[in-house]
Symmetry: C2
Subunit: 320 residues, 2 copies
């Protein structure tokens, strides 16, 4: 049995991430009691049916009483209000963390409400699926995924050490950086891809009727992968774009410049420019597979044959 | 044993698609002899090592002699030259087909070289992976995928019927439409998504060193799915964009208009516009899963736990 890191863990919000934290923490044996709270009564009931915690309470203020660690897993736009509610009720020495996909604005929203006697260690586990709600949670969600922590320089190093140990116990690899740097990296790796996926699926939805129905039918050729990304939780993603505006607009600007170049190459029939880009992007994919951040399975969402075929497919020979 | 549809099938080009046709046709038992040819000697040798055909010849002209059906599976830009080479050697009554992702320009390139005694039934199996070359082929590639045929109105209906039967035997669902309509539908479902994926991966590759290495590290959040798409065969995709220029530029124009609206919403902090779009796109994803064109597995490329968790994840409850 692993050592208990937090005798009492309070989870404020129990969607995909909160539920997965509960299941992974229990799997690892690193928490004593898990107290669960969430805004909607029906979600709290569902969490109880799924046995995600040990106690279920209806307010965040009640949940955090005597908790050694509080993890706020709500949409980024709701973090400030939660901090205001729990601030006066936090135990001295408690650690407060969150899981928001944006960090600088969450720090700005939460920090002023937290007393000086607690340690604030903001976090972002880079893991998820296109599903949401407590039923979507599973214990292996964080396995071999990154969790980024963005504590301010003055935060008690002991608290940071505990949060690093906690996330490692949940299966994640942990990295520490500033909130601002996190937001810039995530703008290009996550926020811009989601924005583009939402946009292209939206463009397709606006097509004239005859073509629109065929878009769904013949989606298995690129579009389908975009729809999976564009099926992510709408409220969560609205809040991300509103709260990481500057970094997203910066990356969007670069994206648009590059797209203008590509558009011009197509218009002018400039095959060399296209071939050069397409060859470089293929190499990047190989780096990601080599880094273990994805499998090489050529499955495109089809799991049946993928595993068996991967090995063959990897021994690539040049195409004709 | 199924009935033989083509006593002799000639495959010109033996990459991912050509190899998969060979394996699927053999699996279905609908061809007699399979003759394979391809431009590069080392690829032809590899095809022979993989036992993809019954005979291996070094020129397309030689391969098509006495063939009942010839399927040209080469990059779209090379189809015209192949047609010029095989035209004079085709057996009277033979069927000529292809697998190109663009149809109108392929018809323009190939048709003039084909004698009036053969039937030209252009085709496009909407299936693939990001791998290429004969090693990447597998017999199940076309199972439950669409294959679009675009025969001209004057083509012998008997030839179309045989090609429909052939692709059905290979596991595909078959649909017939005009080459022009095909190119418009594919521009939005396939060509634009690929262009955007290539572009965003390219934008990331151009970032300053410090951020660029972290892009690979933290790719598991949207970007990774784009890199998979952007790892597709560079020559094939160069040819697609050069040969479906008008439809791609048309869809790109719509995409840019929508992206401008979305950018403005982010800049102005207009959460309602964002939430409205994100809610609509989620519904589109559900339609695609319902149509059987993808699984609901929340795997994002991770096959290990996906199957077991899918059922739970599907019983979605509202997020907090």
């Amino acid at each position: 049995m692993a050592e208990v890191i937090f005798p009492r863990l309070a989870l404020v919000g129990i969607g995909l991430i909160g539920a997965s934290i509960a299941l992974a923490a229990r799997r690892a044996g690193v928490v004593g009691e898990i107290v669960v709270t969430t805004r909607r009564p029906e979600t709290l009931r569902r969490a109880e049916e799924l046995c995600l915690g040990d106690r279920y309470v209806s307010t965040a203020a009640e949940a955090v009483a005597d908790a050694d660690c509080v993890i706020v897993s709500v949409p980024v736009g709701a973090c400030g209000a939660v901090a205001a509610e729990i601030g006066p009720r936090l135990k001295s020495g408690a650690i407060v963390s969150d899981v928001g996909s944006v960090k600088a604005s969450v720090v700005r929203a939460m920090q002023p409400h937290l007393p000086g006697t607690v340690s604030f260690v903001p976090g972002h586990p880079i893991a998820g699926t296109e599903y949401s709600g407590p039923d979507a949670g599973f214990a292996a969600l964080f396995d071999n995924r990154w969790c980024v922590l963005t504590p301010a320089p003055e935060v008690d190093p002991e608290a940071v050490t505990l949060m690093v140990a906690f996330w490692r116990a949940l299966g994640a690899n942990v990295e520490t950086m500033s909130a601002e740097h996190h937001d810039l990296v995530l703008a290009i790796t996550s926020h811009l891809p989601h924005l583009i996926a939402y946009n292209i699926v939206g463009t397709a939805a606006e097509l004239e009727g005859g073509i629109r129905s065929e878009v769904l039918k013949f989606s298995a050729s690129g579009f389908r992968d975009f729809t999976r990304i564009a099926a992510s939780d709408p409220v969560m993603w609205r809040d991300i774009f509103l709260n990481n505006k500057d970094a997203v607009l910066e990356m969007l600007g670069r994206f648009n410049e590059d797209l203008a170049t590509l558009t011009r190459a197509i218009r002018n029939g400039d095959g060399d420019t296209l071939l050069d880009l397409f060859t470089r992007t293929r190499a990047i994919r190989r780096s990601i597979v080599a880094l273990g951040q994805d499998t090489a399975a050529a499955d495109f969402g089809r799991n049946d044959h993928a595993a068996a075929e991967t090995k063959r497919a990897q021994e690539e020979t040049p195409a004709d």
